[in-house]
């Protein structure tokens, strides 16, 4: 009927500049599609802004307010002066004051403090006598960058402070000796820091992508419609999609640690079983977050971009690339919300410090909470209908 009413009009076809015309047609189409994909469009703006903010404000390779502890075996004015002087440098913040060597060691092992000062019994008297006693300083050198900057600043700082308090005369001569001990990594080998860190970073990246694409792929291929019409519950879909990749992640972790030990001589001082257990927890947490992403986004491109949005701060704010203690407080809080932050502490502590579950229960609990949170969001976000 319509063919009778409206005969097809004849349009002229231009042959010149065919290359440009066709390219132009393609270009217009791409622009329209880009504009329709709101999430991708937002990412174009968000990703660079986020990177700039993180690199510009959050990252500072000179640590300050390093969480520190003091092992106080005598309570003297001199000891107080030294601590005050150290704290005034803004490099250190003394969070714990202990009187027992074992407590002191545990604080360092669990990563609650990165730095410790030991003031031995009879220290003040020895100084007054001119015996040059030793002030013992222990730094967690699993992150050599953070440790060396702090140790390097020590001598100068103490000297200036004591001069002010008239403990030292002119010409300045140190009335005691500072004996720094870079614990866990005395040679300050960066591979000892980086290899365990890579276990976490690589797992974050691969696990996230695996599950982030899983739901959107079903939607894009059209299989979601028939899946939804079958009697399967959202939790069942989630577990079915996560579990295979736990195995994949486990194999990856095993590979990286194996290479680290074999080629780079990274030790595994702690319990291998504990490492495997907590690694599984970390893998599952990342898979759950990836799965949550996939229930929120609409297509695979968005899933990839959203994963990047999560991966970038994970690398920058977790303490993998830059010392965690160097970041401003807000960035540290942000870092605490990322699974990688907690896993890095766990994996470094187990491999390099021989930490036990007792030292790590906070980070393990944090991982478990993040995992449950992600799973809950995923299950509630999962659409059981096509509405």
């Amino acid at each position: 009927m319509s063919a009778v009413d409206h005969p097809a009009p004849q349009h002229e076809i231009r042959e010149r500049f065919g290359f440009l015309r066709r390219s132009y047609a393609m270009l217009i189409k791409e622009f329209i599609q880009l504009r329709r994909d709101r999430v991708s469009f937002a990412m174009i703006v968000m990703l660079p802004v986020m990177q700039l903010m993180l690199f510009g404000y959050a990252i500072n390779t000179t640590p300050h307010h390093l969480p520190s502890a003091v092992l106080l075996q005598e309570d003297s004015d001199l000891a107080r002066s030294i601590l005050k002087a150290l704290e005034n440098t803004a490099y250190f913040r003394f969070l714990y004051e202990v009187h027992d060597v074992e407590d002191f060691d545990n604080l360092l092992k669990s990563g609650k403090v990165l730095f410790g000062v030991e003031i031995p019994r009879g220290f003040e008297r020895a100084v007054r006598r001119g015996d040059r006693p030793a002030l013992l300083v222990a730094a967690d050198a699993t992150d050599p960058v953070a440790a060396s900057a702090a140790i390097g600043s020590l001598g100068m700082v103490v000297q200036t402070a004591l001069k002010h308090d008239l403990y030292i005369g002119d010409p300045p001569e140190m009335p005691f000796e500072i004996r720094a001990h870079a614990r866990y990594n005395p040679a300050a080998a960066s591979s000892l820091n980086i290899v365990p860190g890579l276990v976490g970073t690589i797992l974050t990246m691969t696990m996230l992508i695996f599950t982030a694409l899983s739901v959107t792929r079903e939607v894009e291929r059209g299989t979601m419609e028939s899946l939804l019409s079958m009697p399967i519950k959202p939790v069942e879909v989630m577990f079915g999609k996560i579990v295979p990749y736990v195995l994949v992640g486990f194999v990856q972790a095993f590979l990286i640690i194996g290479i680290g030990v074999g080629l780079f001589g990274v030790p595994v001082l702690g319990n291998l079983f504990l490492l495997a257990l907590l690694s599984t927890l970390f893998i599952t947490t990342n898979l759950s977050i990836g799965y949550t992403i996939s229930t929120v986004v609409q297509n695979q491109l968005q899933a990839m971009q959203m994963s990047m949005m999560f991966f970038l701060p994970s690398i920058l704010l977790s303490g993998f690339m830059f010392p965690f203690a160097g970041m401003p407080t807000w960035a540290q809080y942000l870092g605490e919300c990322l699974p990688l932050t907690h896993y890095l502490r766990i994996v470094r502590a187990i491999m390099l410090k021989g930490a036990t579950m007792q030292n790590l229960h906070f980070d393990a609990l944090a991982l478990a909470i993040l995992m449950l949170l992600a799973m809950t969001i995923a299950v509630t976000r999962f659409r059981r209908t096509l509405d």
Partner: protein, 310 residues
């Protein structure tokens, strides 16, 4: 079983809108158990949406009803266990083999012997020898057979088929319909949407839906009778010209070419005959009063509903 009154689908006043556009409007229908119910209507008329509401994939904005005796709003999960839904687009896993796809469905529905059930279905479908082939590599006809097999594997009581034979060759279509009739003979209820008139004629009952409104339903004979359409078949020369001249004349509701002939139909016989009178004596044209076909009825309905709803 509840709802054992011989009615498989019983819904009233279903309405569904997407983004402010009403896709299904106040739709009511009843489908008898063990019958094949054809769902016809132009593209975008709300067939797929209605089917999705019936199997719990969409929640209606208003309206109520039961499917196999279960409330379509509250018991979606129970309905899903007993309904096989074959989507318009092939929705099995293209990167799984025939056997793997069937085993997946069998396990999902909790069949005790998933492997055995898949093996039996492969035999029944005539896919023996192809069980290890990837579903994505099958031809259109085989894909559709496999999809039907996957739907019927968990022994559903109701099959919802959304344009199952689109893009399938005539031989495969005929085999498919023989299969549907065999299943219905075993007591299965089948709701099938289609564009093909020959398929509509193989249904026990049909319903015509346009722009979300269910316009007419009943057996094929009833639907034709209800249309009260009178049809003339014209053969001869210059039929295109004739079609252009007759279109829009009073009483002429539809002019449609069928091969070498032209069907001219109208509901008002007197007006129709008055309008065509000047052309009836023209030489080279042969006029014959005929029974309207189902296609005539549908094309006329389609034209009419456009007037009403656009």
């Amino acid at each position: 079983m509840n709802g054992g009154n011989g009615i498989a689908i019983d819904v009233k006043g279903l309405t569904k809108s997407f983004g402010g556009r009403e896709v299904v409007h106040d739709l009511s229908m009843q489908v008898k158990r063990g019958s094949i119910y054809g769902f016809l209507g132009p593209n975008g008329s709300g067939k797929t949406t209605t089917i999705r509401i019936l199997c719990g994939l969409l929640t209606p904005d208003s309206g109520e009803g039961t499917c196999l005796g279960y409330d379509i709003r509250r018991d979606a999960e129970k309905i899903k266990r007993q309904v096989g839904y074959m989507t318009q687009r092939f929705s099995l896993y293209q990167d799984l083999s025939v056997r793997e796809n069937l085993e997946f469905v069998a396990r999902l529905y909790g069949l005790a012997d998933a492997r055995g059930a898949a093996r039996d279905m492969i035999k029944r479908l005539g896919l023996s020898g192809r069980e290890e082939q990837l579903a994505g590599e099958l031809s259109g006809g085989w894909k559709q057979r496999l999809a039907l097999g996957a739907c019927t594997l968990p022994s559903p009581k109701l099959l919802l088929l959304d344009e199952p034979t689109a893009g399938v060759d005539p031989k495969a279509r005929r085999d498919f319909w023989n299969e549907i009739h065999a299943l219905a003979a075993e007591g299965l209820t089948v709701l099938v949407s289609t564009h093909y008139m020959d398929e509509a004629e193989r249904c026990h009952e049909i319903a015509y839906i346009a722009y979300g409104h269910l316009l007419v339903h009943g057996t094929v004979e009833e639907v034709i009778a209800k249309s009260a359409l009178s049809t003339y078949t014209v053969t001869g020369e210059d039929l295109n010209e004739l079609a252009a001249e007759l279109t829009g004349k009073p009483g002429v509701d539809m002019v449609a070419p069928f091969g070498t002939s032209l069907h001219v139909s109208g509901r008002d016989v007197a007006a129709l005959e008055a309008s065509i009178a000047p052309w009836r004596e023209r030489s080279g044209l042969h006029w014959q009063k005929s029974h309207p076909s189902l296609e005539d009825v549908f094309i006329e309905l389609m034209g009419r509903s456009k007037d009403n709803f656009q």
